[in-house]
Symmetry: C2
Subunit: 244 residues, 2 copies
């Protein structure tokens, strides 16, 4: 069987997240339906991981097995022709049969976008979170460095979610300013449920002067969700890319 | 009377352009209504110029006269509280009584955004025009320089529109590539109806190799709309800023 790898962009608004579930509009289900329409086969689409309701993707990666004879150059356009405009297959590539979108992940990069102007944006309002109070992005950039490395991120996962281990490794964190926007970027080998949104909320507390950058270490070590900041809303979060 | 200058961002989708007209949703009418709700006065909002149906703005500028006593720092937020989310007053400033948003304009900058990837974007699809065929943006950047200076732009205005003179002055034109996007930017003392969209369509013909950059001069001199390119769609166009 052929193994096809897809890079997928989507506007998370209106979707109940990546994962397939009955009676709720979801991205996985939409793409599986589109692929079934063009190949005539029922397929299982495996992603690098789920994204939550409302989260956007510039580079979600997924793969599926097929016996279809459709030329690889035509796959993306063919699937797109059966999809809503808010999901776009950016590229399709034939890969080794052992490639697995989830197990083969080396790292993922997420971006959280804050509009730090008084009145926010009319045009990009669905793609960023508006915070009117001025944030010190340099302090936020100092603080994000404390997340780098391997840590138990129990304080930064949604309470009530179970996962065997909450140890994860952050390879790189950076906070930068672009015009009226503050962009938080995190690259890591894996992330816990809501982890990027909770880290971003904690960095906002740093930017507001409520927490000093060096206090991040204590918050991590406390392993207590109550010591971290708020979970920022989903619509400011982007899965940027997945590396293999 | 106080003279208040507003900087206005809007997502052009769903509006029938800037200008007030009965029974059609328009930006001027929405903002006039919002100002009337907070001041209790019927006001006339004068903009730097109209924008067409579907065109976006990052920096439309408008002014109005009022006897309202509302503090200037509170004006933008107050107006925004009465507006749809697709219009945002970015700032309000009290200016000299002689300031006039249209007559005082020194220059305007427009941006046309082309997504030059095969499958386009899911997230930004309402804010750019997708062209799948590869464009040579360097040739487009060569070509745009021929528009700089004072010319009769009759070949680049919508046919059937009347305006006393079609002579306009372009101060600067640049075409640049940002990832999968090609951005056309034009600054001029004024623009004819559809002029930026027709220039952009002509530059696309250059990018596709249908026209050589140096042919732009002949097209301008012909003063014949038939020799210029297509009018690109409104949803890729942004009024970026107005200088006074």
């Amino acid at each position: 069987m052929r193994n096809i790898k897809l890079i997928i962009e989507y506007d998370g608004k209106g979707f109940n997240g990546w994962q397939k579930q009955p009676n709720k509009l979801n991205i996985q289900g939409e793409i599986e339906r589109a692929i079934e329409e063009i190949t005539g086969e029922k397929i299982d689409l495996i992603a690098s991981g789920r994204t939550d309701a409302g989260v956007h993707s510039l580079g979600q990666t997924a793969n599926f097995k097929t016996n279809s004879k459709i030329e690889i150059e035509k796959f993306a356009k063919a699937i797109n022709s059966k999809l809503k405009k808010s999901i776009v297959i950016k590229s399709a590539e034939e890969v080794d049969e052992r490639f697995h979108s989830r197990y083969s992940v080396k790292s993922k990069t997420y971006r959280y976008v804050i509009n730090n102007s008084e009145n926010g944006s009319a045009i990009y309002r669905g793609l960023e979170y508006n915070i009117s109070n001025k944030l010190d992005y340099k302090k936020m950039n100092e603080a994000i460095k404390y997340f780098e490395g391997e840590h138990d991120f129990k304080a930064f996962k949604a309470s009530g979610t179970s996962s065997k281990s909450s140890v994860r490794k952050i390879l790189k964190g950076v906070v930068k300013k672009e015009g009226e926007r503050i962009i938080i970027e995190l690259t890591g080998t894996g992330f816990l449920y809501n982890m990027v949104r909770i880290i971003s909320g904690t960095l906002v507390d740093v930017g507001l002067g409520k927490i000093a950058p060096e206090e991040i270490t204590n918050i991590i070590e406390s392993k207590d969700r109550k010591n971290a900041g708020k979970t920022l809303p989903a619509h400011g979060l982007f899965l940027v890319k997945v590396e293999y």
